[in-house]
């Protein structure tokens, strides 16, 4: 069993490593960059929310 799990554990370790490696954004956080990223977060949240809503409505 462990033999089958081992590659996935390795994969998970890689994901965690990538996550740590790129944890801090390296771009200079000017007000323009901050505002753009905030707007982008809102945009993505609204769009994902709408997709979930559409999914729920379709399933119903």
């Amino acid at each position: 069993m462990i033999r089958f799990i081992r590659p996935f554990r390795g994969f998970w370790r890689t994901i965690k490593f990538i996550h740590r490696k790129y944890k801090k954004p390296k771009i200079e956080m000017t007000p323009f960059v901050k505002a753009s990223l905030l707007a982008l977060r809102l945009y993505v949240l609204v769009l994902i929310g709408l997709m979930v809503l559409k999914f729920i409505l379709t399933v119903k």
């Binding site: 990538i18 390296k26 771009i27 753009s36 982008l40 945009y43 769009l47 709408l50 559409k54």
Partner: protein
Amino acid sequence: MNLLEKIFYRLRKYSKALRMFALVAGPGIIVMVADNDAGGITTYTTTGAQYGNHLLWFLILLGPVAYLVQEMTVRLGAVTKRGHAEAIFDSFGSFWGWFSLFDLVLTDWLTMITEFIGMTAAMSIFGIPAWMTVIACWILMGSMIMTGSYWTWEKIVLVISIGNLIYIPAAFVVHPSVPDIIKNSVIPNLPPGGLTNDLFFLLMANIGTTIAPWMLFFQQSSVVDKGLQEKDIKFGQWDTAIGSFLTVIVAVLLIIVCGKLLFGQPIDSAAQAARMIMPMNSYVGTIIAIGLFDAGFLGAICISLASSWAFGEVFGWAHSLNHKIKEAPWFYAYYFFDLCLAGTVVLIPKAPLVLITLFVQVIATTLLPPALVFLILLLNDKKTMGALVNTRLQNFLNISIVVVIVVLSTMYGLSTLFPNLL
């Protein structure tokens, strides 16, 4: 220096520049021609059949737009020597990095399915069953990439790109009205009936086929894999400009052909257009079918590579076409996995292919605005770009393009999800 010497000096200078260009050219032409993929060909045939030559000006306008967006990836790739996925991870952190990678992978895979739908539909016109087309494509696409040399791969793909120009003779065969084409190319106008929901959908589909997220990832990674330097940027820009010219030419000519032969008839796909044209003009029908296959083939190769490069950059795998399979096993494994998965879906009986096509548009809509915003921000980061940051004019043009695309694509996404909302 006498006249003859001056002429000789000039000719030598130009021939040297031309040789340099021949060496650097490739990524821009390939990405732009591959942009006219199976979905793109379907969009153009539908545009021509539904609105004739009325929207030619819009397609011509999209050429410079595509150039301005893609040109940024040339500079970014040449300066940073990093692909787009890695650049996003590094500059914006892991949250946006994972978001972009996941979105790219999903969009690419779904778009690949539409490429296989296009290829199998095109070959079915010649009586070739879908399973045979899919297997033949797997073998061809696999053998192309196993050369272990970016240069060889690029030359093969450039030859395939020439196949996309097959629509040029078709436009001459149908004898379209030249004054009408010139008028509709130069003067912006809306078709009779004005801006309807159908027209808005088609305009957005045309934008979506001209500027796609995978193109940003592909060209930047391609520039890095090819090893372009900062001194090569000028040639890379020419390469992209020629590519955007070719993509517009193909789109315009296909619209002209379908506007002439199918005007007013409802068209759902390019394969259907080819079938309908066959009895009228078998030569043009065959050209559309072959062109559709070529477009799907080229699109599938480039889209699959865009994902493989992105994964390689982020996961730290060897990810160059200059590597042999043994040297970059995960890079090639992902490429084949992507191809096989997309091709298999098309072979599943009663697979929801129409739903998949619709889903591609919605998902692509979510990735395009973030990808464009990241591009603009990266191109304005002095720490990253140094002297090659966007100029004021470039910023004005690019930010205008991004704002218009964000607004339109949001409306498009909303109207696809909730058709009665807008």
